[in-house]
Subunit: 277 residues, 4 copies
């Protein structure tokens, strides 16, 4: 394509910024992503440590300050992505774009509306930054392979969860009727919570059947949960093998996991991401 020289220059400059922030081709870009991930982990650790009561005051103040350093750095990163993205709007509306925004906004919000509640929310949201790790993983073939597998068996997993939710509702109601509030099954929602704890084999034991009939029904719920634990596994196993097949046939989009691109395609037909290789 033949653009005006200055447009071409701006385009090149923006592309270089985009390659630095989004890409992994050059060593510099790889180091940028690694540094970013290190920053995320440190910022999360800061939040976690801060929650431990009886910290010495200086450390508490240091962590408070660090929070602002992190906020500034992540803000610069976000602005850089907006400028460097091939399609800024698309990036801003993509999953990672929204996560990036969500994780810097609260720090500013907490400036205008102070209060411990809000500060806690800030911390929780900041933890979402860890999801950025996926952006590096995304580039690893192995990682995107898992993505494709889950992508491919999306409907299967949905159907499976509808079945589990139904099962859990039915069993929860049955034990609510059998055991009743005097045995800890205070309401159907609580009983459904018990059913999930049971079917997923977590089994806290904070609520457990006391009557013989309740124990019998609970046994059925456990055996059923034991059996259906096999279904998602089979789904993902089959999905992974299909994905490996698809991998051999064509490339997949690192942004949205779409596979089977035309051999001559340079950008993903669904989200415009630059396709590897």
């Amino acid at each position: 394509m033949t653009d005006a020289p200055h447009v071409d220059r701006r385009a090149r400059w923006r592309r270089q910024l985009g390659d630095l922030i989004f890409g992994l081709e050059t060593p510099l870009a790889r180091n940028y992503d690694k540094a970013l991930i290190g920053l995320i982990v440190v910022s999360v650790l800061a939040v976690v440590v801060e929650s431990v009561s009886r910290l010495p005051l200086p450390l508490r103040l240091l962590l408070r300050d660090l929070e602002w350093v992190f906020t500034v750095l992540f803000t610069l990163d976000y602005l850089g992505r907006l400028v460097g993205a091939r399609r800024p709007l698309r990036y801003a509306l993509s999953f990672y774009g929204i996560v990036d925004l969500l994780t810097i906004l609260p720090s500013f919000v907490s400036l205008l509306l102070p209060g411990s509640q809000y500060l806690l929310v800030v911390r929780a949201l900041r933890l979402l930054r860890v999801f950025r790790v996926f952006k590096l993983a995304r580039y690893s073939d192995q990682a995107s392979l898992i993505g494709e597998a889950l992508q491919a068996s999306r409907e299967k997993i949905t159907v499976f969860f509808i079945a589990v939710l139904t099962l859990v509702t039915v069993f929860g109601t049955m034990l609510y009727m059998i055991e009743g509030p005097q045995n800890g099954f205070t309401s159907i929602p609580t009983s459904i919570y018990w059913a999930v704890v049971t079917v997923t084999t977590v089994g806290y034991g904070d609520i457990s059947p006391k009557t013989p009939l309740g124990k019998f029904i609970a046994t059925l719920a456990m055996l059923m949960g034991y059996a259906i634990i096999a279904v998602p596994t089979g789904i993902v196993s089959a999905g992974l093998q299909e994905a490996q097949e698809a991998r051999r046939q064509g490339r997949s989009c690192p942004q949205c996991g779409l596979t089977k691109h035309d051999p001559d395609a340079h950008y993903c037909k669904r989200c415009g991401e630059n396709l590897p290789g």
Copy 2:
């Protein structure tokens, strides 16, 4: 085939009704199924919410009235299915036909025989309506694929469960003998309940071995349960891949999951359901 015109007209009218209620070909039919599922979910939520104690009276009355609206609507749906079904008797005796009947009968029963017990039963049975969701899922290739896989590995899973039940009975009896009533293992049924809780890795902790020997046997039970958790998974995984093979070879019946139909078959040879494509 050459029918008398009025028969042909009635047949066409009934087929249109059948396509609306059973089919997913036209947008109208699809919307009908979606609305039905929405109705089921709402009616289930109504039951769940109603169980929460300390609800304001007006909300309680509203839910009571809603119950009757749901009953009427589901009754109309059931009658429509009876009329529109290609083979009404077959539908009435099919799994979904019985579920449909079971979920509307109790509301009328509770009219003749009032009493809180019965009302609760009504609620529990109504929850079965959620199984209708499968009827939509059934049309999704992914969903029926799971059905075929479980269908195909039916015997394997049966054998597996016989093995599990044996194991659980043996371990339960052993701990009943070792720990005895003073440690909570009051009878063999209770001990079998403990064994199921253990082998399925639920582990409530309401009953747990106290003696060293009991703990040792329990350890064996856990490791064994840990190992056999692998068996159903392997079964389903293999079953899913077989089903995907069969899928490539032939079509499967959306009603009963039967596969390998003759290429020229228009109806399922087992249940007479209309075959896709």
Copy 3:
């Protein structure tokens, strides 16, 4: 082969008995096995029911008498197998032969050495009879397929369990050192019991770490157990598919699961069992 007529006659008679007891070819033989399984289930239920305290005396006496009926019937079955087996010694030393003997001996032992302890042992051993169910299942292709899969991945599973035992011993000792007796980790065996409860994700909660370091190590144990839960599953899945491959190639022995027999073989080269088809 040309035997003397009377030998031939005895051989024919024994073969008929063997076909009746071991085989599933004739309807009579199939019914024999079904009746036997029914008898096993009833006898096990009798033991289970008998353990429930506060049973009416007549029922208790009835169960006591039934025990002797079962013993006689199972003894006749065992003798019939000894006579009808192609190789009586081989049968007597096979897994099922030993189980059959073990499940009838105790009843007679309890005659000579009475005492509640012994009676309980009798009951526990009788439960092993349920394993006979496998003898019918064994003939079902699906069931023997599972057997072949586990047979094929025998070494893999052994290695896996050595790894699990090592892990459990290391983690148990670490928590014994970290938490100590005051937190319930009274000895290394008890701590290993805790580690098994944790790694198998049973999680009774009767023993759980209290110190921060103990909780951290426990977290590692859980995540590791979560990861290695995948290994046996993968092993069995792969094993099942290999077994299905082998099934397509050759027949497998219903007695010992040995596959890949020569096409012209009529008896298993390892255990002499009659090969199907």
Copy 4:
């Protein structure tokens, strides 16, 4: 290669020692490894038994003495490996070389720095000796097959664990905010411990949500953990099949599991181990 005769003699002598200790070709070498494993198991049992309080004094003293016998024998084994290894330095720095050193050092350390704490550490480290079992298993095809599978899906599993850690951190923080210290969620680290206990379906019940919102979020965590339990399984299943493929194509290194060696290779290109066959 043509060395001076005495060098050649020393080389032959060292190779024979190496074959005895490292190899499994001759019966003598096989027996050496079996005896070593027996020794490891006995020494671990000694540590475990020693931890049980109220042992008779003579037994306690016997175990104390046995500890020194084990130490001497394992030291001789370690020296023999250093001398017999084709590349002593490489062995000393390999996983097993470091384990071997770690398991004999503490006994000597405890000589210089006595104290019950240190003695306990010695015991814990000695348990690592059991890992030697893998060195025998390593030679079994089945065992190394598992190694290759895990080797092959190393990245997949890493990505999976990053996802799990993120999930656990997010859920832990959410419940710390919702439930707070008064319900046992005393800090974010403690809440993350709870999240791990929940997502891995261990479910001790020492900490469990009390508020309705907390229970709802916990339900989501369980269902998510239930679903992602499928991912590592699918990964390992696929990995095992790939490894079996690779096995059919080429040989794998017993030391580091590297596969796809050139047909004419005699030593592993990565770690210099002698390749089988």
